[in-house]
């Protein structure tokens, strides 16, 4: 079997979180799940919290004057406080729940952007962005006549900070940047970005934390950005819940973007007034059950400690690099492991990523093959797709070993020569 190539005392051999905590992984012991950047598996704690809400506290929050509705309201508020604390926001009411990062970015682009961006302004994004942090801004620019600018990348797919600096000016109205690239894992040096943006502009600074919040410690209050968006399902929580944290000052500049129940103060015949933050931006019955589930996932991560999560992924990433050196013709995209989240985005000789994913699937290895909702990046890489293996708290050396074996098999099938 595989011999370990990493130093003793690291955590790469074993998972940080026991597989038995994750019912799907426990049920399928041979499954090698390497697609956590797409969505994470869910621990019992999250599933139990969902069942617990529906079996003990299910009522519509903020509405009934009866005890059960109060219990639902309390559970929802407690979930908000837990998630805000986890992301380093002292004021829970600055966290607005959404369906996920995509809805969060659309919220900011509409609630803030529509009122503050006009022709002549400039919106800056990067070539690393997920479509969810690209299209809302691209379309806002189209609607308003603002200029849409794209920060190019270094040869190893990091944001080119010099190019970013050169694009910033008094005309810059929005800077929207990913915290961690979903496609190649590059970690943005947030402090450098914040310093550049604040020195040179009064722009709104938005961070896409979909791949940041699950994998790195986040302290919103000291980060220096205006908005930070995240998705619950990538950080052990259920699908359909996520959110965006903003500063009070920036929230005050936002206009409601969805209208309906819960978000109003008073509805007159010809006009209406709005509820306070965060409800002003949460129209309709809130997704309380999934918020409660997400809070359980967050407590699970807190118990692991996010610094340990990062250390685990980095150690496993370095182990993967050692093992993947056995695979001729493999090219791994992105910066060195120390500047990357637990993402291995790669090409294997001339084998198409789609073929790789099918062959790996036969080995029980789940990876993503495709453009990763990052077509601007794919164009710059000169490919239509890459193969991506991604790690999380339950990943271990067996996952990497199976990946290597399956890649060697793919090479044999295709007789790759390069």
């Amino acid at each position: 079997m595989t011999t370990s190539l990493i130093a003793e005392g690291t955590t790469a051999h074993t998972a940080l979180a026991p597989r038995r905590d994750f019912p799907l992984l426990a049920e399928q012991p041979a499954l090698r799940y390497l697609d956590s950047a797409a969505t994470s598996q869910k621990p019992h704690a999250v599933l139990d919290a969902l069942t617990g809400f529906y079996t003990t506290a299910n009522a519509n929050p903020h509405r009934g004057a009866y005890a059960l509705s109060a219990a639902a309201t309390d559970a929802y508020h407690a979930a908000r406080a837990t998630v805000a604390r986890f992301l380093g926001a002292a004021d829970p009411d600055t966290l607005v729940f959404t369906r996920g990062t995509t809805e969060a970015m659309n919220l900011v682009a509409n609630a803030w952007g529509a009122a503050h961006v006009q022709a002549g302004d400039e919106i800056v994004v990067t070539a690393l962005e997920h479509h969810a942090n690209f299209i809302p801004w691209q379309q806002l620019a189209k609607r308003t006549g603002a200029t849409f600018r794209i920060v190019e990348l270094t040869a190893d797919q990091r944001i080119d900070l010099d190019h970013l600096a050169s694009l910033l000016s008094a005309r810059t109205r929005v800077v929207a940047i990913t915290h961690v690239s979903n496609a190649v894992g590059a970690i943005t040096p947030v402090h450098d970005v914040v310093r550049l943006v604040r020195e040179r502009t009064n722009a709104l600074l938005v961070l896409d934390g979909a791949q940041g919040a699950p994998h790195l410690p986040v302290a919103f209050d000291s980060l220096g950005v205006d908005f930070y968006a995240f998705s619950g399902h990538k950080m052990l929580g259920p699908m359909g819940i996520g959110g965006v944290i903003g500063t009070r000052a920036r929230w005050a500049e936002c206009q409601p973007w969805q209208f309906g129940g819960d978000m109003i103060e008073w509805v007159h015949d010809l006009d209406s007034t709005w509820n306070v933050l965060p409800y002003r931006f949460e129209a309709g019955t809130p997704n309380a059950a999934d918020a409660v589930g997400l809070a359980a996932g967050v407590r699970y991560l807190e118990a692991l400690d996010m610094r340990a999560v990062r250390a685990h992924e980095l150690a496993l990433l370095e182990y993967a690099h050692h093992r993947l050196a056995d695979v001729d013709g493999l090219h791994i995209y992105g910066p060195p492991a120390v500047e990357r989240s637990g993402v291995l985005s790669f090409a294997l000789a001339d084998v198409h990523p789609h073929d790789l994913a099918t062959i790996l699937d036969e080995h029980g290895v789940c990876i993503r093959a495709g453009h990763h909702c990052a077509q601007p990046l794919m164009r710059r890489l000169g490919v239509s797709a890459t193969a991506r293996a991604s790690l999380y708290v339950y990943s271990d050396a067996r996952d990497i070993d199976a990946l290597v074996d399956a890649l060697l098999h793919a090479r044999r099938i295709f007789g790759a020569t390069s």
């Binding site: 041979a30 084998v351 198409h352 990523p353 789609h354 073929d355 099918t358 062959i359 036969e362 080995h363 029980g364 093959a369 495709g370 453009h371 077509q375 794919m378 239509s384 797709a385 199976a402 399956a406 098999h409 099938i413 295709f414 007789g415």
Partner: protein
């Protein structure tokens, strides 16, 4: 478990037959026909970002020339290669009948395999991988679209409706 599945005669080996891989490594019909009357249609796979174009030149109701370009996986490329090898010189009616037989094969109807020319029966293994059926269909859909395009006046090489 994984080894037995991967090395036996199970779905993977059935799909990645040598005939498929040969077409992938050295495809027939690579390149659109250089002819002023070429009709071109493109299909995109929004899941993986692949795009294939098929071009045909008709002489009466016969396919005089056919070719493809673009990027695709082994299944998409092999299917396009087999397409060009099997429809050149055929009538439009026979070609559309063939396309519909291939479609049935890809959906698991192996009874049509016997009537398929050339290496096309090798595509039968794709039916066991539902997420790859779309790859094998791309060229055939583009071909049908390219043939239909000339039936009424329309601009050449309009992009396929990309399901984004």
């Amino acid at each position: 478990m994984a080894d037995a599945r991967a090395t036996g005669t199970l779905p993977l080996a059935a799909m990645y037959q040598e005939r498929i891989l040969e077409h992938f490594r050295a495809p027939h019909g690579r390149g659109l026909p250089a002819h002023p009357a070429v009709r071109v249609a493109e299909r995109r796979n929004p899941l993986c970002g692949d795009a294939l174009r098929v071009g045909v030149v008709l002489r009466g109701d016969v396919i005089d020339a056919v070719g493809f370009d673009g990027s695709g996986c082994s299944i998409a490329t092999a299917s396009a290669s087999m397409l060009t090898a099997s429809v050149r010189g055929q009538t439009i009616a026979d070609t559309l009948r063939l396309a519909s037989s291939v479609e049935r094969l890809l959906h698991g109807d192996s009874t049509v395999a016997a009537e398929l020319p050339g290496d096309l029966p090798a595509l039968a293994g794709v039916a066991r991988h539902p997420q790859r059926v779309g790859c094998a269909r791309m060229a055939w859909q583009a071909l049908a679209e390219a043939i239909a395009e000339g039936a009424e006046p329309s601009p050449r090489a309009t992009p396929a409706p990309a399901a984004q």
